[in-house]
């Protein structure tokens, strides 16, 4: 036990090689020491090599981390990783976009050549080819894409964490060891792309499935386009600038939109093929599936209609999370999904684009924060840090100790309730945990029937939003 404590205190990245369940046996006092030591080390090192952090620290007048709460003013708001002007995209200023990203990572991007880059997808490919960066972008449903500067290594390390979780979450070796036997990898999406889910899928294919043959995708040759994901936000920004805005929308982008709409029209056929392939190639076998819950609702319904049950083997594993995201579903939606898949061996995580070490849910439904993630709760009204005791509700913020090439501090848009500082979750795991009921602040702000006459109704490309939301790209 003390060995794990010293290892993590020395280097949080020791978690990659550990028995996953042991991370939840450390005492709260030990966790706090791991957190403070790790945070100090990160701040001292990264401050001088990440311009954005240096700027923020200077502005806040912070030169050292003495207590965990000293970190709070340094946590990046969600707007930081999307602070680039959309005009960079519309006007093809990918050199400026690269310079912007350079300020957010320790990697030196000054030598990156963006000649010929016309779209975000091109830009991502350019970075993938010329640097160690494998950036992740958000899904863009909120309007603008965030860009998180992860590296190649991050994705592989994250797979090691995931594999450890699947193997040890319900006790050591309670689940399959994904590394010992290549397991088929199944995903209801495009094969390629740079969203968090697509990047991690790519690493899972390499490290777990072992070969492309050992995989099944809904669109096996297609890519989830960052340009498509960004389209909603760009259309809105353009609408705010009237006729001129519309004129300046990239024609390449609009051509892609047509392409994307066509692909989506093929979805029902692709779904048919998927089911047929699944039955034929992997029926009854233990597989690894990665999908957020909402992306499984439709297939589960399809399966129900076809009378399909128990598609895969019972020792299959489902990596999932995300709740229903506001969609309505039958009360037994989870059961319908596990019934069609053939396994109830699911690993549900609370996480986000910005978090490397996600928080798995226990059988009580509580999400257990990783030992190398420093959680904070911020009071929704006052902005003050809430005390680390009892049960508290507030805005979730965190400092992720794992990344060494970007700053791991974030403030989220989630309203959560947390416990675990001075109580132990009924599941037996020690340490802070987040209750199942998680809400978005943006859904709560504003009372009923508040009517204002000042506002700019958002330009809704309804068709586009539907396409982006239903693309399975998350």
């Amino acid at each position: 036990m003390t060995e794990i404590f010293s290892l993590l205190r020395e280097s949080p990245q020791a978690l990659y090689g550990m028995r996953f369940h042991q991370g939840f046996e450390l005492s709260v006092a030990q966790l706090q020491e791991i957190h403070l030591t790790g945070a100090r080390r990160r701040f001292d090192t990264l401050r001088t090599s990440i311009r954005a952090l240096d700027k923020l620290a200077a502005e806040q007048g912070i030169s050292r981390i003495d207590t965990l709460d000293d970190l709070v003013p340094l946590l990046f708001k969600h707007t930081v990783y999307k602070s680039y002007p959309i005009s960079f995209l519309e006007r093809g200023r990918f050199d400026a976009l690269t310079r912007w990203l350079d300020g957010l990572t320790t990697l030196d991007l000054s030598g990156v050549d963006t000649a010929g880059v016309q779209t975000i997808d091109d830009w991502i490919d350019c970075l993938d080819t010329q640097t160690e960066l494998r950036i992740a972008h958000s899904s863009g449903t909120s309007g603008k894409l965030s860009v998180i500067p992860r590296t190649r290594e991050h994705w592989f390390n994250q797979v090691r964490l995931t594999a450890g979780c699947v193997r040890d979450w319900h006790g050591p070796d309670s689940g399959p060891d994904l590394f010992s036997t290549p397991m088929p990898f199944i995903r209801l999406s495009e094969r390629y792309g740079a969203s968090v889910q697509h990047r991690s899928a790519n690493a899972l294919v390499e490290m777990i499935a072992g070969s492309e043959d050992n995989t099944l995708f809904l669109f096996p040759t297609e890519r989830y386009s960052a340009d498509m994901a960004s389209l909603g936000g760009r259309l809105r920004a353009a609408a705010a600038r009237g006729e001129q805005g519309r004129l300046e929308l990239s024609p390449v982008l609009m051509a892609r939109r047509e392409e994307f709409a066509r692909r989506n029209a093929q979805r029902p056929k692709a779904m048919e093929r998927f089911f047929a392939d699944a039955r034929e190639r992997f029926g009854g076998r233990d597989v690894l599936i990665q999908a957020i819950w909402v992306n499984l609702l439709e297939p589960a319904e399809e399966a129900r209609k076809q009378g399909l049950k128990g598609l895969f083997g019972p020792r299959s594993a489902l990596l999932t999370g995300g709740g229903l995201k506001g969609q309505t579903a039958a009360p037994d939606w989870r059961e319908r999904i596990t019934e069609f898949l053939g396994t109830d061996n699911y690993y549900e995580f609370y996480g986000m684009t910005e978090m490397l070490s996600n928080a798995p849910a226990c059988r009580q439904g509580n999400y257990h924060v990783s030992p190398v993630t420093v959680p904070f709760l911020i009071d929704g009204e006052s902005g003050e840090v809430l005390p680390r005791n009892g049960t508290q509700s507030g805005r979730f913020a965190f400092f992720d100790l794992l990344p060494e090439s970007y700053w791991g501090g974030f403030v989220t848009g989630d309203l959560v309730t947390m416990g675990g500082w001075d109580d132990v979750c009924p599941c037996g795991r020690v340490g802070p945990y987040v209750h199942a009921d998680i809400r978005r602040f943006s859904d709560i702000e504003g009372g009923d029937d508040k009517i204002d006459c000042a506002g700019a109704p958002e330009a809704h490309d309804r068709a586009m939003e539907y396409l982006v939301n239903s693309s399975g790209g998350h």
Partner: protein
């Protein structure tokens, strides 16, 4: 900590004060208790059109007298109902106390007989309200008369400024209409205060008997499926766009005339003449600060994105940055009855402002360190990506090489454009009009130059509130050829 308050129901001269259901804006800690309107639907709706007749026993002078007397009773210092509305608004509104006080004190102005007469004449035409007006028929021997009559109307009003409910009541009165005002949760008491004062003053007066003020939750089928029926109402005036009509679009049908006053934003254009000399620039900065800051930028007409013909080269940026600095200074120095730091700076906007430091080559942020406001100066010809979110006294100056470029940035949601100088306004006004704007005004005047007797949002809502009835007289037999002769018909 929630503060509570009762919201009675006023139906045609009667106050019903048995609050049962709670509602409230969670953000501002207010909890209101309102009566269940569903229990009083029969009285609320005016199902018998003959009940409009009593309004026609009043002359226009009678209406002016009534409103004038009412206005005298609406002095904030003497009216307990308004005082409570004011107190609650101080908690729920984005306007600070000093600004609200100013607006509540202005309420009597809307009831002054000269002002009402001016509104009635400018918005409809008193002759049409009072009687049948001869109109050219275009046909010899045919005379046509037109009269504007009142209608039975539901008003779903906005609550961000107190004048909206007040204006609705005045307009309802001089058009001899019947109004059911649905109160918004962000201001459930102001219109109610005026209605209750009417009841205290003259409970049986026809104008009192044709006003109801009620709160019900938007989407409450029990109320809306009953009320939104052409047998019961003829017109629906909805402020707030989709938010106010989302639940009721399914009830719309021929027989209900929907008048929407949608949320809007506004823009500003400043010509190169501003940079003639320091004194001119300073004067422009003060005007601009007024248009940004007045009413704490809560109104649809406030300036937010400001297009400036400064030039986009280094010299141009230096000019616009200077204007930005001066405007910020003027903004912070505005008198408190006009503008103050916003009480509840929007957190999403705060996040956006905080992120600007990471792109300071593209956007210069002046101020923004506290909640008192800020001026963002774009260093290229595009506004910030979050321009739709600008509020709480945050403006965004955008440099252009040519003021005409700004014309194409206008869209259908652009209501007011403040322009300096007036010569530029004249030059651009036609192009701006067909591009989508609805109102042009000299810089600095978005509030003070506004007149209550002009079209609003590109339409004439008060004319729309009326029913325009036609009466044609003539000898039909002279107009149709080939008819049987009268003698032949009489003889059998």
């Amino acid at each position: 900590m929630a503060v509570g308050c009762d919201v009675p129901l006023v139906i045609r001269g009667r106050v019903i004060d048995t609050p049962t259901a709670a509602f409230g804006g969670r953000g501002d800690g207010m909890v209101f208790h309102a009566c269940d309107v569903a229990e009083h639907l029969d009285e609320l709706a005016l199902s018998a059109p003959s009940a409009m007749a009593d309004l026609y026993t009043l002359s226009f002078d009678d209406i002016l007298d009534f409103l004038h007397r009412l206005g005298e009773r609406l002095q904030l210092a003497d009216n307990a109902y308004l005082q409570e509305a004011f107190r609650v608004s101080c908690l729920t509104s984005g306007l600070s106390e000093s600004i609200l006080r100013h607006h509540y004190k202005e309420i009597p102005f809307y009831f002054h007989r000269d002002v009402v007469a001016g509104m009635a004449e400018g918005l409809v035409g008193i002759d049409f309200l009072e009687g049948w007006v001869e109109r050219p028929s275009g046909s010899p021997g045919v005379s046509v008369a037109v009269r504007a009559f009142g209608a039975r109307c539901v008003h779903v009003i906005a609550g961000n400024v107190p004048a909206i409910g007040v204006m609705t009541i005045v307009r309802n009165a001089f058009t001899r209409s019947d109004a059911i005002i649905k109160s918004p949760s962000n201001d459930p008491l102001t219109a109610l205060a005026v209605a209750r004062t009417m009841i205290d003053m003259a409970p049986d007066h026809p104008l009192t008997r044709h006003l109801s003020v009620a709160y019900w939750k938007g989407g409450d089928d029990r109320v809306e499926s009953y009320l939104y029926d052409p047998m019961r109402i003829e017109k629906l005036v909805a402020w707030g766009g989709l938010a106010s009509i989302r639940h009721i679009t399914r009830y719309l049908q021929p027989g209900i005339d929907l008048i929407t006053l949608d949320p809007k934003h506004s823009a500003t254009i400043i010509g190169r003449e501003a940079f003639a000399d320091e004194a001119t620039l300073a004067a422009v900065a003060v005007r601009l600060a007024v248009d940004i800051g007045m009413m704490n930028q809560e109104a649809c007409m406030n300036a937010r994105v400001v297009y400036v013909e400064s030039g986009t080269d280094a010299a141009g940026l230096a000019r616009i940055n200077r204007l930005g600095e001066m405007t910020y200074r003027a903004l912070r120095a505005l008198p408190e009855h006009v503008s103050t730091p916003h009480k509840r700076f929007h957190p999403e906007l705060r996040d956006e402002l905080d992120a600007l430091q990471f792109v300071e080559d593209e956007y210069r942020l002046i101020g923004g360190g506290d909640d008192g406001g800020a001026i963002i100066v774009s260093q290229h010809d595009m506004p910030v990506d979050f321009s739709a979110m600008l509020a709480c006294r945050v403006g965004n100056l955008v440099p252009l090489d040519n003021a005409e470029q700004a014309v194409r940035y206008v869209n259908a949601y652009t209501q007011t454009i403040g322009i300096w100088p007036d010569t530029l306004k004249r030059k651009l006004r036609n192009a701006l009009a067909w591009q989508g704007t609805q109102r042009l005004v000299s810089l600095g005047g978005t509030y003070v130059l506004g007149s209550p007797a002009t079209p609003q949002d590109g339409i004439e809502p008060v004319r729309r509130m009326c029913k325009w009835i036609v009466d044609e007289t003539g000898e039909a037999l002279d107009k149709i050829s080939g008819l049987p002769s009268v003698e032949a018909v009489a003889r059998g």
